[in-house]
Point group: C2
Chain length 281, copies 2
């Protein structure tokens, strides 16, 4: 049987994967979750019909969401992840030996369960003793935690539809700012420059209203249509200057991130610069 | 009618475009050529079933193939394009006011004709008085031209199947080396890091056997599955150091290339570095 799963983006294009079989299909309180075995990319996680990641290339997104902010901070000890119930960001965070505590808050406990069952190479550090996993609303968690609780906040959300809508708005970024310590850094996925370019610009400008230093950076993510953006807001210093800490142990294990890639990721094509309101140079 | 064109890569994945209608379908002496009107990406050129470009994003590939080598050269006057019968590279080359002469050699005159008819925004500079268009074999042309004829050679080929096979081999790069002047630079498309990673590595190592300085660089090309590589061989100097010439007039018209992007394009993810035999740092 020649079975293909196709995610169709707006503007009449999409990406398609050859599928061996369906491993799981369920509806959580918040969203539909599917796990598919692909022919060439390992297992594929699909939420509400959108590709979340494949085993073959999830490293790009998870490494770049995590290591750019963590290597931009002098001494990250307490890290909060909002969303990211699959555990991929957590796996990358605990590579940094300076990190003492990670709190993962995902609203959908079924995502966490599905990842534990079907994606052991992604969820593998969720039981690390440094990691606390909470299935609750990330926004409420932020509201209830004391100010200046975290060195790093990563926003590892789905697209801005359904439960994740609020994670792209100014009040949410203000709550992140409040929960960050003096040198704190927030990083968030901010959409595709190909089919969500308006979102990329809007999120950048919104974060710029809250944080003194804001930057957008990019990575090459095949399963998300090729290129993805992240926005980073810093209370102290410009993350585009490159890593400010050496941790060769972490980098030598990685498949995407290195110190040159860190700096290069902030070199944005003109069409993205123009959208976020910056001048090319 | 819900019509979709899908290019399926090896490893069971691909990219798909919603199609309004077919504008042209023909068989040249060398290959099958199709022009499709897409729903969201303007017109699409397909050769032997492979996406060549869409009007919406051809700027990425053509700007990056052209401006990285041209801005790495102190004073490019004579430029040779092998392949590239569509004219996209030529359009970018003539933005540089220092360029005096461009020779385009494409083996397939039907590609040139189809581009003139269906892609006026791409082929628009083929009639520029600085440009000479030849429908002949690029390898033979190189063999017959005097040594040290060109400042820049761009290899704008199709995939290494059919007529383009020889354009990825050492004897071809040696002919390019011979035809380049003392400060000469060659740049070539070298495949997808997602579905042709072995090709990326092989071409890099082959060019390194011929040129004293070799670098691989990347750009985010949605229609080619998201990321593309180029290899650059230089007789003099490292192109990764960034542009060595200012030409603000050219850059301000561009949609992708700028001087930061030039430098950032050489920051390769670890998985590509390992394939081309370099160490991450």
């Amino acid at each position: 049987m020649d079975l293909w799963f196709t995610e169709r983006y707006p503007q009449g294009w999409g990406i398609t994967f050859k599928i061996e079989r369906s491993l799981y299909s369920g509806k959580s309180r918040y969203q539909r979750i599917d796990v598919l075995e692909t022919a060439g990319h390992g297992r594929l996680l699909v939420i509400d019909g959108c590709v979340m990641f494949t085993e073959a290339d999830e490293f790009v997104y998870h490494e770049m969401l995590t290591h750019v902010p963590l290597f931009s901070h002098p001494n990250p000890k307490r890290v909060l992840v909002i969303g990211g119930g699959d555990g991929g960001a957590v796996r990358e965070i605990v590579r940094h030996s300076c990190v003492e505590e990670v709190v993962l808050v995902d609203i959908d406990e079924d995502v966490i369960k599905v990842s534990r069952e079907f994606f052991p190479s992604v969820s593998c550090e969720l039981d690390n003793p440094k990691v606390q996993v909470l299935a609750e609303d990330g926004v409420r968690y932020l509201e209830s935690c004391p100010p200046k609780s975290f060195d790093i906040i990563l926003v590892d959300s789905t697209d801005p539809v359904g439960p994740a809508v609020g994670l792209f708005e100014k009040p949410f970024f203000e709550k992140c700012f409040r929960a960050l310590k003096r040198d704190g850094i927030m990083a968030a996925q901010s959409g595709s420059p190909y089919f969500q370019l308006d979102l990329v610009g809007r999120v950048h400008r919104t974060v710029a209203q809250v944080f003194p230093a804001v930057r957008t950076y990019i990575a090459g993510t095949p399963s998300y249509g090729g290129l993805w953006t992240f926005v980073i807001g810093s209370k102290n210093g410009d993350p585009a200057q490159g890593p400010i800490r050496e941790d060769q142990l972490a980098v030598s294990d990685l498949k995407y991130y290195n110190y040159e890639v860190h700096k290069g990721a902030f070199a944005l094509p003109n069409y993205i610069l123009r959208e976020i309101g910056k001048q090319e140079k």
